[in-house]
C-alpha cells in the first residue's frame, strides 16, 4: 500500500487511533535506530535508596562499633 492510498484511510481514523498511530511510528523508528524508549506499564528500576534513614542509622552504628573495636 502506498502513502497516497494510506493517507485517506488515516484521515478517517478516530482521534485516539491517530494518536496510537503516532506512538506506533515513534516506537518503530526508535527501535530501528536502537534507541530504547520507556514502555507504558513496564517497570523500570530506581536503584537510588532515597530516604533510607533506617539503613543509614544501622550503617552508622556499625561504623561506630567497628571504630570502638579497633581502638
Amino acid at each position: 500500500m502506498s502513502l497516497t492510498e494510506l493517507f485517506p484511510n488515516v484521515k478517517l481514523l478516530p482521534r485516539a487511533d491517530k494518536l496510537r498511530l503516532i506512538q506506533f511510528l515513534v516506537v518503530e523508528l526508535a527501535q530501528e535506530d536502537g534507541i530504547s524508549l520507556l514502555t507504558p506499564g513496564a517497570e523500570y528500576p530506581i536503584w537510588t535508596p532515597l530516604n533510607a534513614f533506617g539503613a543509614a542509622e544501622t550503617l552508622m552504628k556499625m561504623l561506630e562499633n567497628h571504630k570502638a573495636a579497633s581502638i
Binding site: I35, S36, P45, I46, W47, T48, P49, L50, N51, A52, F53, G54, A55, A56, T58, L59, M60, M62, L63, H66, K67
Partner: protein, 140 residues
C-alpha cells in the same frame, strides 16, 4: 589536600550528554580481597550500596552476614546486609566505608551520603561535565 578533577562518564546504554554521570574510580578492600570499581556519586542516595558480585569478590559470605539493612526504591525488594570495607580514591588516604551489600547484581556501586559524602568533599560542575573529589577537611 588538593582535589582530583574528573570528567563525567557516559554510561554504556546512553547515547546523549544527559546520560553522563559522575563515576569515581575507587578501590574497595577487605582483609580477603580487593576490587577496583567505578562508583556512582549519588548524592540522592542515603547510603552506599555494594553490588552482590563485588561483595563476593571481596571475600564476603552472604550466609554469614548478621546485620540486615532495609533499603528503599527498587532495592527494597532485595535483601541487603551491612558490611564495612576500606575505600581508597586516587592517592588519598584510605577510609572506612559502610555499605549495604545487596543481593542485586545489576546495580552500580553507589556512593551515597552514609558514609562516602561524610568522608569526601565532592563538588559538581555539571555544566562543564566535571567534578572534584577530595578528603573531608580535618576539624581544627
Amino acid at each position: 589536600m588538593k582535589p582530583i578533577r574528573l570528567s563525567y562518564n557516559r554510561v554504556e546504554a546512553g547515547q546523549t550528554v544527559a546520560s553522563e554521570l559522575a563515576y569515581v574510580p575507587i578501590t574497595i578492600s577487605t582483609v580477603e580481597g580487593s576490587v577496583e570499581l567505578q562508583g556512582l556519586l549519588d548524592s540522592g542516595s542515603t547510603v552506599n550500596v555494594l553490588p552482590y558480585t563485588a561483595g563476593l569478590a571481596l571475600g564476603f559470605s552472604w550466609e554469614q552476614q548478621t546485620i540486615p539493612i532495609a533499603l528503599t526504591g527498587s532495592l527494597s525488594k532485595v535483601p541487603a546486609y551491612g558490611v564495612i570495607v576500606t575505600g581508597k580514591v586516587a592517592s588519598f588516604p584510605p577510609v572506612e566505608l559502610a555499605f549495604a551489600w545487596t543481593q542485586a547484581a545489576n546495580v552500580p556501586l553507589i556512593l551515597g551520603q552514609v558514609n562516602f559524602f561524610m568522608k569526601f568533599d565532592v563538588c559538581f560542575f555539571r555544566s562543564q561535565a566535571v567534578f572534584e573529589v577530595k578528603p573531608k577537611a580535618r576539624r581544627k
